[in-house]
């Protein structure tokens, strides 16, 4: 249960700096260092406290259904990396205290740093592949934050995004790889996966797994050709480079290969890919390190080169190579972190890190010079330092490699070349920075840094020397246990020593050193040679690629989504027609088993009228008034159709809806031009006609197909239950207010919202009443014809009476709230038209909005009332009362519901009308007004 404390502690450390910064910068640094220090102590305590061969493991459930557990392990490999991460992390915290300037937010930096540390600690202790992946992603995010710490600088932002994109892409590949492993093995548990070597390598998915996992590892560890993000990540503050880009994050990829080594390695595929990638990366990185002029640039490419070295060792894969790899990981972390920090000191004190501007620093910064030179010697792989030992081991393995058959010489050749170049760039680094006569004055006069800033470098360099002189020191238990965790089978014998006697590796080493010195002397010529090539800046290439991608997207989207409603409609209709047509084509026979009804002349006439109306509406759409008239023909015929097929209620509704709609449309048309300009080209007309015909044809065919098939519907229930269950003889009305009252409730809500929406749309609109129509004809002066006034006024009480009558009888005979509401609305509209809005509003002094709302509310409350009696929502009841004189009367609660409908319809309709009418009456026609 204690293992999760290690990442948890570092995670808690994220919040410490923000709290501690009030106490000053030193306090902040010390407080931040507490968490990793305690964690480091815990690690050692656990590790030394547990016995022998058992791997320490703890797991907590997180998402067991998906095989995701909060599982942690602590074995030799974790230990090695934990020491690096936490140990160097502590030094970095100390170093940062003096590195960051007053303007930089220290608490933010430390918070990001601790977040990153948590992620790294998580990666190396995860005992579950998915958990490992989670921390893996977290390193991408936190390094993104760290690299662009100086976020005001474009290079930092761009570099961070590039790093994030590349490692993020690798991360996704890794996720896919992990999922494939999970599919093959059946679990994401690390222990099980590590034991499933045979199962995985035998799987047909193995090549995919290898490629995906290695993509993740190579992007993270900056292997060729995914290395390009690393030099640009150097825009980060130097502590970040020292920590992320030498000791930890870039080693995450290496760690992954080590961790999964027992499960994935040992095949030809693995060896070929990993070894070759490693060797190529090594040579490539070393060559560019030799040519760079920026201190951190040299170190970045050198890091790429050394990571390549380690990778190639992992590819070779025998146990001796693994030992060499692990040993070199330690050594590289030691000398590279100290070099980065030294570069940071030089940058800090001299104001530049361009080697062309530096030189002769040994006089001004003697201690730093000594420290840097020792680390550089280690980097070059010269005796008697640690770098030399691991490089000797590397050469031994390279020379002994049996892979690639007849091409086996390629391995030592590339290894030697890489070694040679690294000697050269190390020499160049030291010479140009410290010993060459300065060509120009650096921006600041350099001097030694404060002691605590130099201390981490001193410590690391001391370790370099100690490990070089006493190489057996880290062997037990750190290295041995790490080897045990990565190499399956017997624990190999190994002995680390400076002097192995004269052997091929030593000869190669000596040749390499000699070659390196020569190359260094030829540096100027090499630079000249390099100038022939066009400089390739990965940033421009990457950004260019992104820009091109964005431009491509822009074009694609513009083509698809160009802002034209016609285009969208066309696409939607086309898709619909296509889908329906394809389905219809699949149908065996359009007509079903039912016979067709005999045609009678009236139906034919109706159909002809309907078609004519529809076609003319579209064809004459440019003449709006006529088009509207044709539309009303369609509506009318539909109403007649309902009447013909015994649906008087629907016919009545359709008729009144038609009347109201037409009036409103006419009112709207008043403000619009009478004619639409011709907009469509001939081709477009053809296209539109085709689409319209296709759509109509498809819908008609479907209808025909459906109607000619047998149907057993629920409608008989409604007919049977209308009287006994709903208390009404008019089935349609009973359906509306009772069986499906819930629908009606929704629909009147829609109506009320529509009224509200139109109210809002028109409220701010102010139009001037045109004096003439578009063709210059004056509108009639007789705005309120007397005849109409008289008729409408006489009609009003009658119409109200009729609507009341229709409302009341609705439950038993054609009628009901909806129709009654429309009739009332029509009568009032007529009044408005004949007398003008102002006259009418003076007399009908109330808002329509509340009426519509009251309607909705009334219906809702009727429904709610049934709850009071313990029935479901909207349950209706009815009873018969006997009143003297009048006789038997049936009262249904549905009637109240219907009343709500009535109110909503009247309110919404008149709300629309009143607003349309107000548009003009607010301003009397006066063309002179602005």
């Amino acid at each position: 249960m204690t293992l999760p404390w290690i990442p948890l502690l570092t995670f808690l450390g994220v919040f410490v700096p923000a709290l501690a910064i009030r106490g000053g910068r030193t306090v902040c640094a010390l407080a931040t260092a507490t968490a990793p220090a305690v964690a480091l102590g815990l690690v050692l305590f656990f590790y030394l406290g547990h016995d022998g061969d058992e791997v320490m493991r703890t797991s907590l459930q997180w998402l067991p259904a998906m095989g995701l557990e909060l599982a942690f392990r602590l074995d030799g490999l974790s230990l090695l990396f934990l020491l690096l991460i936490l140990g160097i992390g502590l030094l970095i915290i100390l170093y940062t205290r003096y590195y960051l300037s007053e303007q930089d937010s220290m608490s933010r930096f430390y918070a990001f740093l601790m977040l990153f540390m948590t992620a790294m600690v998580g990666i190396v202790t995860s005992d579950n592949l998915l958990l490992l992946w989670g921390f893996w992603e977290l390193t991408s995010i936190s390094s993104f934050l760290l690299i662009s710490f100086w976020s005001h600088e474009t290079t930092a932002r761009k570099g961070a995004r590039m790093a994030m994109t590349v490692t993020g892409a690798g991360g996704l590949a890794l996720l896919a790889g992990i999922m494939l492993i999970g599919k093959v093995v059946g679990t994401y548990d690390m222990g099980t996966v590590l034991e499933s070597h045979d199962l995985i390598t035998a799987s047909p998915l193995y090549p995919a797994i290898i490629v995906l996992v290695l993509l993740g590892a190579f992007t993270k560890s900056a292997q060729f050709p995914f290395h390009f993000w690393l030099p640009h990540a150097m825009a980060a503050p130097t502590p970040v480079s020292a920590y992320l880009h030498s000791a930890t994050m870039v080693k995450a990829g290496i760690f992954l290969m080590l961790r999964l080594h027992p499960a994935l390695s040992g095949t030809e595929l693995w060896t070929v890919i990993v070894t070759l990638t490693g060797l190529v990366t090594m040579v490539y990185g070393a060559w560019f390190a030799f040519l760079k002029t920026d201190l951190k640039g040299i170190l970045a490419f050198s890091t790429i080169s050394h990571l390549g070295l380690i990778t190639s060792l992992l590819g070779l894969g025998n146990s001796q190579a693994m030992i060499a790899a692990l040993f070199h990981i330690i050594n590289h972390a030691l000398f590279k972190a100290s070099l980065f920090m030294a570069a940071g000191i030089i940058d800090h004190e001299a104001g530049t890190r361009d080697v062309r501007k530096l030189g002769g620093l040994y006089r001004l910064m003697p201690i730093t010079t000594v420290l840097t030179c020792i680390a550089t010697v280690s980097m070059a792989g010269l005796p008697p330092l640690n770098g030399f030992i691991s490089k000797e081991m590397f050469f031994t393995e390279a020379l002994a490699s049996q892979q690639f058959g007849g091409l086996a010489w390629i391995v030592p050749l590339l290894a030697g070349l890489g070694g040679l170049l690294s000697v050269a760039y190390s020499l160049r680094l030291a010479y140009a920075t410290f010993f060459r006569r300065p060509r120009q004055e650096p921006p600041k006069t350099p001097h030694e840094p404060p002691w605590p800033m130099r201390f981490p470098v001193e410590l690391l360099v001391a370790l370099c020397i100690i490990v070089g002189l006493v190489p057996t020191l880290p062997q037990s238990p750190i290295l041995e246990d790490a080897v045990r965790a990565t190499v399956s089978g017997e624990m190999p014998e190994f002995h680390l020593a400076l002097w192995h006697g004269i052997n091929p590796a030593l000869l190669l080493s000596m040749a390499v050193i000699a070659g390196g010195i020569v190359l260094h002397l030829l540096h100027r010529h090499m630079m000249r040679f390099n100038r022939q090539f066009k400089p390739q800046d990965a940033r421009y290439i990457f950004e260019g690629f992104v820009q091109r991608l964005v431009a491509l997207c822009q074009r694609l989207i513009d083509r698809l989504e160009n802002g034209s409603l016609q285009r969208y409609m066309f696409l939607l209709m086309a898709v619909s027609v296509l889908a329906m047509a394809l389905g219809l084509a699949d149908l065996d026979m359009l007509a079903g088993s039912l016979g067709q009804q005999a045609l009678d002349p009236i139906v034919i006439l109706g159909a002809a009228l309907l078609i004519m109306g529809g076609v003319l509406t579209a064809a004459l759409h440019r003449y709006r008034l006529i088009s509207l008239l044709m539309l009303s023909v369609v509506g009318l015929v539909v109403a007649l159709t309902f009447a013909r097929f015994s649906a008087p209620d629907l016919a009545l509704t359709q008729l009144s809806v038609e009347v109201v709609t037409m009036i409103l449309l006419m009112l709207a048309l008043f403000f619009l031009p009478q004619k639409t300009p011709k907009e469509s080209s001939g081709a477009r007309v053809v296209r539109d006609v085709l689409i319209a015909t296709g759509f109509g044809g498809a819908v008609a065919s479907l209808n025909f197909a459906v109607l000619t098939r047998d149907l057993n519907s629920i409608s008989n229930f409604f007919i049977d239950q209308s009287v006994p269950g709903g208390g009404g003889h008019n089935v349609v009305n009973v359906i509306l207010v009772d069986f499906r009252g819930f629908d009606t409730l929704g629909e009147i809500t829609v109506l009320a919202i529509a009224g509200l929406a139109i109210f809002k749309l028109l409220n701010r609109l102010r139009l001037f009443m045109p004096a003439t129509d578009m063709e210059g004809r004056l509108w009639s002066n007789d705005r309120h014809p007397t005849l109409l006034m008289v008729v409408s006024q006489t009609l009003l009480p009658l119409a109200l009476l009729v609507s009341f009558f229709i409302f009341l009888r609705g439950h038993n005979q054609p009628g009901g709230g909806f129709i009654a509401g429309l009739i009332t609305a029509v009568a009032l509209i007529l009044l408005y038209m004949s007398r003008g809005v102002e006259w009418a509003q003076q007399r009908l002094d109330f808002q329509f909005q509340p009426i519509a709302i009251a309607g909705v509310a009334l219906s809702t409350f009727t429904g709610l009332c049934s709850w009071l009696f313990g029935y479901p929502f909207l349950t209706s009841t009815f009873d018969h009362f006997h009143l003297p004189l009048i006789g038997d009367i049936e009262l249904a609660s549905a009637l109240i519901f219907d009343g709500g409908i009535y109110l909503a319809v009247v309110g919404a309709t008149l709300m629309i009308l009143a607003n349309l009418g107000k548009l003009t009456t607010a301003h009397r026609p006066n063309k002179d007004m602005p």
Binding site: W62, A65, M66, G134, E137, I141, S148, S151, H152, R161, G168, L172, L175, A176, M179, K183, C553, L560, E561, L571, M573, V575, S576, M580, G583, D586, D588, G592, L702, N703, A705, V706, L707, R709, N712, I714, G725, D738, F739, R740, G741, D743, G746, T749, V750, I753, A754, L756, Q849, I853, A857, T860, G863, S866, W867, Y871, P872, F873, T875, S876
Partner: protein
């Protein structure tokens, strides 16, 4: 009798009516706005709890037994969706207090908000296909009215496109309902599901299925039917965009989930294959479209489209695991997307623009806002341990297990592009220096602290939800699993609604 099924519809409906009754009092409207949505949230929790207990909670409106009346049915999926409606509704109502101006308030913002929520809840809870249409209409009109709040030219343009394309969707939907009724003679979804199996001619059912797919696809903004969304979502006040972004398209997705598990499960090879391609293309076009944008809300709008693709992918793969992933994705997405829109609103309020090129320096001035942005943004991109990771992970695992390589690759790639897109916003809005700090500062009226906190409060709440989902993945997974199990057991739904059939 279970009032909790109907209450999530009736509460906002009543609140809407009440709110309109207090037409002139802004104070009352605001009060009802918060109280009404809070009540909605409370009942949705109640409903969620009873569904956990009973599996299906059912009410026959009007007391008419199914299939004759209209049945309200809440299963796990509905309950989750209603709960999310409650959460989002409440968050948006609180956020509206400081952001919706006097003009909008007097033009009925709050009543419309309630009615929209009623429509959304109705669509989630109804067990009747025609009733679903009715609630779609309520939603459509309410959202249209909300879109034109303010009546600016860009809004009008977006709203006209929105309403036209959605009306086309309604037409197709209604035709499909008519045809379906013509084939099976019933409107209750459970009854339809029962009877569809008895129809001899499957081809006709398939055609109707595709019509439903197109109609709901338009609502859900799936490829190639999504055009109305990027045209409209960046125009209204931010609270409205946020509400739309969270809920509206998801109603379409919900309808697809419902119909294509319960009713149209006959020819999965045909229908769900179309869905799968639709999902893949939706994901890709959405994310590529986002890459080309430089307006905060337009980027987010295109990402909605892209994320819809993931949800459809869950439905299209049609395995238990994939459905779990789909439901999980919906659940996570609604919260995250709404939150991102709300954050864009604060940025707008502070900086006076949505244009990435003109924005900058927000992190320096308001670091907390930066952190609050990162949570939903990284979650959207699927970074562990946030909610989006689990959603994506389950889906991708499902697709790997189903052996669908293409969609797996696309889903992973889209994840990467989403991450890129989020870092673009982060870099442009939060990190880079504001291009013209002084002039921008002058233009924007200062925000009072009280207002700022009212705006941040819902964002913090939603971000907490995101983190909670991430840390308690198993809990939410169980919920999603239960709902997936129900979705894959249409017979259970039918039995629950119609009673055990002999």
């Amino acid at each position: 009798m279970s009032p909790e099924v109907a209450l999530p519809i009736l509460i906002p409906l009543t609140a809407g009516a009440l709110s309109m009754a207090f037409w002139r009092s802004r104070m009352m409207q605001r009060l009802i706005g918060v109280a009404g949505t809070a009540a909605l949230l409370a009942t949705s929790l109640w409903l969620f709890a009873s569904v956990q207990e009973q599996g299906h909670v059912i009410m026959n409106a009007g007391g008419w037994a199914a299939p004759f009346g209209i049945t309200l049915v809440a299963d796990h999926l509905s309950a989750i969706m209603v709960l999310l409606t409650g959460i989002i509704g409440f968050a948006v109502a609180v956020y509206s207090l400081p952001t919706i101006g006097r003009g909008h308030e007097t033009f009925g913002y709050y009543p419309l908000l309630h009615l929209l929520l009623a429509g959304v809840a109705g669509a989630f809870l109804t067990g009747d296909i025609f009733n679903l249409y009715v609630w779609f209409e309520v939603m459509l009109l309410a959202s249209f009215a909300l879109l034109i709040l303010g009546g600016e030219r860009a809004q009008m343009e977006g709203a006209i496109k929105y309403v036209t394309l959605n009306l086309l969707s309604s037409v197709i939907f209604l035709s499909a309902i008519g045809l379906l009724y013509g084939l099976v003679g019933t409107l209750n979804m459970a009854d339809i599901a029962r009877r569809v199996a008895l129809v001899e001619d499957n081809t006709l059912i398939d055609i109707v299925a595709v019509m439903f797919m197109i109609s709901f696809g338009i609502k859900a903004a799936a490829f190639p039917l999504f055009f109305w969304l990027p045209a409209a979502y960046h125009t209204p006040p931010v609270a409205v965009s946020a509400l739309f972004a969270g809920l509206l398209t998801k109603v379409g997705v919900y309808a697809l989930f419902r119909v294509f598990t319960l009713i149209f499960n006959q020819s999965v090879d045909f229908t769900h294959e179309i869905l799968l391609w639709g999902a893949a293309l939706t994901m890709l076009t959405g994310v590529l479209g986002a890459a080309a944008q430089f307006e905060f809300r337009r980027i987010l709008s295109f990402h909605i489209v892209s994320q819809i693709g993931y949800m459809l992918m869950g439905l299209a793969l049609f395995t238990p695991l994939a459905l779990v992933g789909g439901v999980f994705y919906i659940l996570h997405h609604i919260i995250v997307k709404t939150n991102l829109f709300l954050i864009s609103g604060i940025v707008y309020r502070l900086k006076g623009t949505h244009d990435l090129k003109k924005l900058g320096g927000v992190y320096k001035a308001w670091p907390l806002l930066g952190v609050l942005f990162l949570i939903p943004a990284l979650s959207l991109a699927g970074v562990p341990p946030l909610s989006g990771f689990f959603a994506k992970f389950v889906l991708i695992r499902a697709s790997i297990e189903a052996g669908e390589i293409t969609i797996t690759v696309i889903a992973l790639l889209v994840g990467l592009l989403t991450l890129y897109s989020m870092t673009k916003i982060w870099a442009e809005v939060f990190w880079k220096k504001a291009p013209d700090e002084d002039s921008a500062a002058k233009r924007v009226a200062p925000v009072s602290q009280r207002h700022l906190w009212l705006m941040i409060l819902p964002i913090v709440g939603l971000a907490a939800c995101t983190v909670f989902i991430g840390l308690n993945g198993q809990l939410l997974y169980d919920v999603a699993e239960a709902s997936a199990a129900q979705l894959l057991d249409p017979q259970g739904y039918i039995d629950a609604v119609l009673g055990e059939q002999p």
